[in-house]
C-alpha cells in the first residue's frame, strides 16, 4: 500500500521557505513568458523555465538526503531517471507522430549552413547565422535532397532529438547510463531485498553493453575504411527564431566504423545482432533505447514507491530509538520544521509549554536563569537530541524551565506539537512502540533533572 501522505510530503519543498518558492515560480513564469513572446525555440523555453528552479531543487535534494537518508537518495535518483526516460519517450513520439527526422544533435544554423541557404536562395543574404539549433527538418531523399510527399511537397517534420537535442551525443548517453548503473548499485546496498531495483540493475547492465560498445567505436576506432557520404544542410528561419534544415545534397567521405554502422549498436535495426543473424525485425535505435529505459525506469519507480512507505526523518529515529519504522514514518508526517539564526531563542524560560523539539541541524544550548540572576548553561545538544519534553513527563509543569538558544549559522529543529507528544507520553493509541518511548522519555527526564541539579550546584 502506497503512503500518499509521505509521498506528498517528500515531493514538496520542506527545506525552503514558501515565499522563496513563490518568488522562484514567478521568475520562472516571467522568463518562460518572455521566451514565448520572443519566439524562442522549444528547448530555450524549457531551459529558461527550469533554470531558476535548479538551485532550489539542488538545495532541497541535499536536505532530503541529509534528513531521510537512503530513501531520499533513491527518490532523487528516481526523478532523474524519469526525466531521462521522458526525453527518450518524447523522441519516439516526435518520430512516430510528428514526422520526425533523427539527425541528432539537430543541425545548427551556423555560418556554413546559413551560407548554403543563401547560395540556394533560401534566405536573405544579409541575414546572419543565429547559431540556434533547428527545430524542423525536411527529410532527405536517397539523393541527399528533399524527399517529396504524395502531394509533391517536401516532407517536413520536427527534429526528432527530444527537448534538449543538443545533449543527444554519445558521451552523454554513456555518462547517464553509468550514473544509472552506479546509482542503482548504491541503492541496492541499502535496499538489497527490493526485487524491482534488481530488475532495473539487470536492465542497466545490458544497456551498459550497448553504450560502452558504441562509445568505444565513436572515440577510439577512427580508421576510415568505408566509402560513404555526409549529409549537407541549409538552414533558414521558418518563423521567428524557429529554424528549419533543408537537405541540399551529399558530400562523399570516407567513414569510420561508428559512422559506417557501429552507431546502431548491438541490438537495434542495422546493428550487430541483425548483421550477424540476418533477422530484419529489430526496432530502430531510438525505439530500442526508449524500451531499455522503460525497463529501467518502471522498476525503479515501483522500487521507490515500495521504499517510500518507510520515509522517516533519521534525526527523529535517533531521538526515539524505540519506535518501529512504521511508527517513525507516522511520527515524521506529524512534525514540522523550525529554523533559527545564531542566538535566536527556540523558547524562553517561563514560556507556556507548546511542544518539544529534536535538533536536526546545528546545536541548541539549554540555559537556565538561576534565582540569583546568573545564567547557567545546562547542556549543548547535537542533531538527533530531544529537548523541551520535560514538562510532559513532570505533570506539575506548564511553563518552560529553561531557555533553548540556537547556536550555529542555520539551526533547524523538528517540532513536535503538544498533541503528538501527549499521544506518545500517555500512550493513547495503545501501541507498544510508543509505550517504550514513554519509558525512555521518563528515564531521560530523570537523568536530565539529575544532571541539571548537579550543574546548578556546581555553577
Amino acid at each position: 500500500m502506497i503512503n500518499f501522505r509521505s509521498l506528498f510530503r517528500f515531493f514538496s519543498f520542506e527545506a525552503i521557505n514558501i515565499r522563496i518558492v513563490l518568488i522562484t515560480a514567478a521568475i520562472s513564469y516571467m522568463l518562460q513568458l518572455n521566451a514565448i513572446i520572443s519566439g524562442e525555440p522549444l528547448y530555450m523555453i524549457a531551459f529558461v523555465t527550469l533554470l531558476p528552479w535548479i538551485p532550489l531543487v539542488l538545495f532541497e535534494g541535499v536536505w532530503k538526503v541529509k534528513n531521510y537518508a537512503a530513501v531520499a537518495f533513491l527518490g532523487v535518483f528516481t526523478i532523474l531517471q524519469l526525466g531521462h526516460f521522458a526525453e527518450h519517450l518524447i523522441q519516439v513520439i516526435q518520430i512516430d507522430f510528428f514526422n520526425g527526422t533523427v539527425a541528432c544533435p539537430p543541425p545548427v544554423d551556423n555560418i556554413n549552413n546559413a551560407l548554403r541557404a543563401v547560395t540556394m536562395g533560401l534566405r536573405d543574404v544579409a541575414a546572419q547565422a543565429s547559431f540556434y539549433s533547428v527545430e524542423r527538418i525536411i527529410k532527405p531523399g536517397a539523393d541527399g535532397f528533399a524527399a517529396l510527399g504524395m502531394d509533391g511537397q517536401p516532407l517536413r517534420g520536427v527534429a526528432a532529438c527530444a527537448v534538449f537535442g543538443q545533449l543527444d551525443i554519445e558521451i552523454v548517453h554513456l555518462v547517464w547510463e553509468l550514473i544509472g548503473w552506479t546509482g542503482t548499485g548504491v541503492c541496492l546496498f541499502f535496499f538489497r531485498r527490493n526485487i524491482f531495483l534488481w530488475i532495473a540493475f539487470a536492465a542497466l547492465c545490458w544497456h551498459a553493453l550497448e553504450h560502452l560498445t558504441i562509445t568505444y567505436f565513436y572515440y577510439f576506432d577512427q580508421a576510415k575504411l568505408w566509402e560513404g557520404f555526409k549529409q549537407l544542410w541549409a538552414t533558414y528561419p521558418l518563423d521567428g527564431k524557429t529554424f528549419v534544415a533543408e537537405p541540399v545534397g551529399k558530400e562523399a567521405a570516407m567513414l569510420n566504423f561508428y559512422e559506417a554502422g557501429g552507431k546502431f549498436g548491438l541490438m537495434a535495426r542495422h546493428g550487430m545482432f541483425e548483421q550477424l543473424t540476418g533477422v530484419d525485425f529489430m526496432p530502430p535505435r531510438a525505439h530500442l533505447h526508449m524500451g531499455y529505459n522503460l525497463v529501467i525506469t518502471v522498476p525503479t519507480v515501483i522500487g521507490f514507491l515500495l521504499e517510500s512507505r518507510k520515509i522517516a526523518n533519521r534525526y527523529l529515529g535517533a531521538a526515539f530509538q524505540g519506535l518501529s519504522k512504521e511508527e517513525l514514518t507516522r511520527l515524521t508526517n506529524q512534525t514540522t520544521y523550525a529554523r533559527f539564526g545564531d542566538g535566536d531563542r527556540v523558547f524562553s524560560q517561563g514560556d507556556r509549554i507548546d511542544g518539544a523539539y529534536v535538533v536536526s541541524s546545528g546545536k541548541v544550548e539549554i540555559v537556565m536563569d538561576r534565582e540569583d540572576g546568573i545564567e547557567v548553561s545546562l547542556a549543548t545538544l547535537d542533531p538527533g537530541q530531544l529537548f523541551g519534553e520535560m514538562g510532559y513527563i513532570d505533570k506539575g509543569q506548564d511553563r518552560r524551565m529553561a531557555h533553548a538558544i540556537a547556536r550555529g549559522r542555520r539551526v533547524e529543529c523538528i517540532a513536535l506539537d503538544s498533541q503528538t507528544i501527549e499521544e506518545m507520553v500517555q500512550n493513547k493509541d495503545g501501541r507498544s512502540g510508543f509505550d517504550s518511548v514513554r519509558k525512555a522519555l521518563e528515564k531521560l527526564a530523570k537523568q536530565r533533572a539529575s544532571e541539571n541539579r548537579t550543574t546548578l550546584r556546581e555553577a
Binding site: 531551459f47 541528432c104 544533435p105 540556434y132 551525443i169 567505436f217 537495434a268 542495422h270 519504522k325
Partner: protein, 75 residues
Amino acid sequence: MFNQLISGATLLLSLLVPTLAKAASGPLAEGFGRESWLGKIHVVAVVVALVLLASGVLVFAILRTEDDDEEADDD
C-alpha cells in the same frame, strides 16, 4: 538584456556541442555488414567481460552487506 543573454547562451551551446548531425541516422555505409562486425567481435567480448566483472563485484559486495530491514526482521 535577457535576449542578449539567450543569444550568448545559444552561441556558447553551439560551440560546445558538435555542429554536424551524426547520431544514429542515415543508412549503412556500402560494404558494411557481417564481416565488419566479426572483425570487431573482440571489442564486444571485452565490453561484455568488463560489464560482467564490474557487475559481479558490485553484486557480491551488495549481497555481503546486511540491510536495516534484515536486522529489524531478525530482531
